[in-house]
Amino acid sequence: MRRRVLPGFGLSLGYAVAYLGLIVLLPLAALAWKASDVGFTGILKLLSSPRTQAALELSFGGALIAACVNVVIGLAVTWALVRYRFPGRRILDALIDLPFALPTAVAGIALTAIYAPNGWLGRWLVPWGIQVAYTPLGVLMAMVFVGFPFVVRTLQPVLQSLEQDVEDAAESLGASALQTFLRVILPTLIPTLLTGFALALARAVGEYGSVIFIAGNIPLRSEIAPLLIVQKLEEFDYAGASALGVVMLAFSLMLLVLVSAVQRWTRRWAEPSA
């Protein structure tokens, strides 16, 4: 409407689109080109080896479990940070972003060092028969680590702005604390939890740096899909790498669509009350 008042529409949009085109769209087109070269049946054939299947299963299955774990723990941690005041809260709050800020390779070797059989935590866990380092459990641990901030940071603002009088009303009508949580609070948080879940899932599926050190990378057991891409590239098997890349990219695009759908859905519900 008032678009004439402010200058720079053509310049800023043109620059942004051109930059995005060169950095993001053109490379994506290169992948699409390679994938179409291989063809749909070709991709399926490249993905059919037991080793690739096992890696895909571990990457997707592990990320799914890690995202579920993150939703549960993330909800508890966010609840503690938002609703309660206790010493050290601010420091813990700042610490949440550590997996964002810490380079993945650093997180990877640090996690390996503490969960190795002689590490700080490993030496207590291994006698109990819990092997973390160099097993699928280690992969899971690293995936939980990298996905954790996504759930907390998505949930935090929503939990902060949640009206507490609804809870008070539920309580004065005789609901127990658990009932209030399950019937009043949780339903309103579900879209946010879903967004956090999808973001943590997307991050965990594609994660490479923090996983490969602790995984031990045993074929058919603790090898993740991104590692296979790297290995195929090292063997100059571009077609095989592209096939895996397309599957992973398609999955992340699907999650992106899911997230934006959830956000549109919540906005539509939030608008009438605002």
Binding site: R2, R3, V5, L6, P7, G8, F9, L11, S12, Y15, Y19, L20, I23, V24, P27, L31, W33, W79, A80, L81, R83, Y84, F86, L92, D93, A94, L95, I96, L98, A101, L102, P103, T104, A105, V106, A107, I109, A110, A113, W120, F148, Q164, D165, E167, D168, E171, A177, G206, Y208, G209, P226, I229, V230, L233, Y238, A241, S242, G245, L249, L256
Partner: protein, 287 residues
């Protein structure tokens, strides 16, 4: 924060639940976040300060630090200019395909770093799209510094834009329109009105972008070729030393990166505490 009736009725069970959640959450955060962080520094100094300094004072470590700085110095400013341009276009004007543009800006966040690297290999690698042409002209991008820079730009592209867009959306364009109506030129409006309004969010975006640029591993690992002293950034040098069982050396470089992460987090917390209203797009509306 807690409301009155809640406090009055607080039974033993409720207080117990509260204590339990606090203890479990703190314990989890300490074990899960603090312990790995502490272990980086402990492992780096395992054989004393002398071994720590010595492992950093080696040609390949110095080269890795230099290369990391070089990559960040090129990629961060480019993404800052992009972030400002994208935020300006998206928050100051209405146009078709705005949602699509936003989705593409977010895309690098959800693509696996390895896939990001793969994209550039498919474009510029020997068998890639431009591969034959580049070879014919003697230009090397993959397994060389330009590849590292491109992969880093891709990975860090969203950070500045994502900090600015919600803030500029919430601030609205009235102040800029007033400046224009009062006769300020476009550039004057930007430097005197817009930039001061967004400076803290911009600074935070730059910090995040920089932290990610210096710490990126997966994407640069794919395009680097791991040529020591030439194409190994700090995270790649960490990996190579670790795989050579040079643990003190690996953790020494890792501790520098961890320090960068800590500084980033500290500045972030400070900015949020000090300039809360200028950073958080939802803050002014909430109070």
């Amino acid at each position: 924060m807690r409301s009155r009736p809640d406090k009055r009725r607080a039974g033993i069970a409720r207080r117990l639940g509260r204590a339990l959640i606090i203890v479990l959450a703190s314990l989890f955060l300490c074990l899960f976040l603090l312990v790995p962080l502490a272990s980086v520094f402990v492992e780096a100094f395992r054989q004393g300060a002398h071994a720590f300094v010595e492992s950093l004072d080696q040609a390949e470590a110095v080269a890795a630090i230099r290369l990391t700085l070089l990559v960040a110095v090129i990629s961060v400013p480019l993404n800052v200019v992009f972030g400002i341009a994208a935020a300006w276009a998206m928050t100051r004007f209405e146009f078709r395909g705005k949602a699509l543009l936003g989705a593409f800006i977010d895309l690098p966040l959800s693509v696996s770093p390895v896939v990001s690297g793969l994209l550039y290999v498919l474009m510029f690698g020997a068998q890639g799209w431009f591969g034959p042409w580049l070879t014919a002209h003697g230009i090397q991008i993959i397994f060389a510094v330009p590849g590292l820079v491109l992969a880093t730009i891709f990975i860090t592209l969203p950070y500045v834009a994502r900090e600015l867009i919600p803030l500029m959306q919430a601030q609205g364009s009235e102040e800029e329109e007033v400046a224009r109506v009062l006769g300020a030129s476009g550039l004057q409006t930007f430097f005197r009105v817009t930039l001061p309004n967004i400076r803290w969010a911009l600074l935070y975006g730059v910090l995040l972008c920089n932290a990610r640029a210096m710490g990126e591993f997966g994407a640069v690992s794919v395009v680097s070729g791991h040529i020591r002293g030439l194409t190994t950034t700090m995270p790649l040098e960490v990996e190579m030393r670790y795989n050579e069982y040079n643990y003190v050396g690996a953790f020494a470089i890792a501790s520098l990166l961890a320090l960068l992460a800590l500084v980033t987090l500290a500045v972030k917390s400070f900015l949020e505490w000090r300039y809360h209203n200028d950073m958080d797009a939802t803050a002014p509306r909430r109070r």
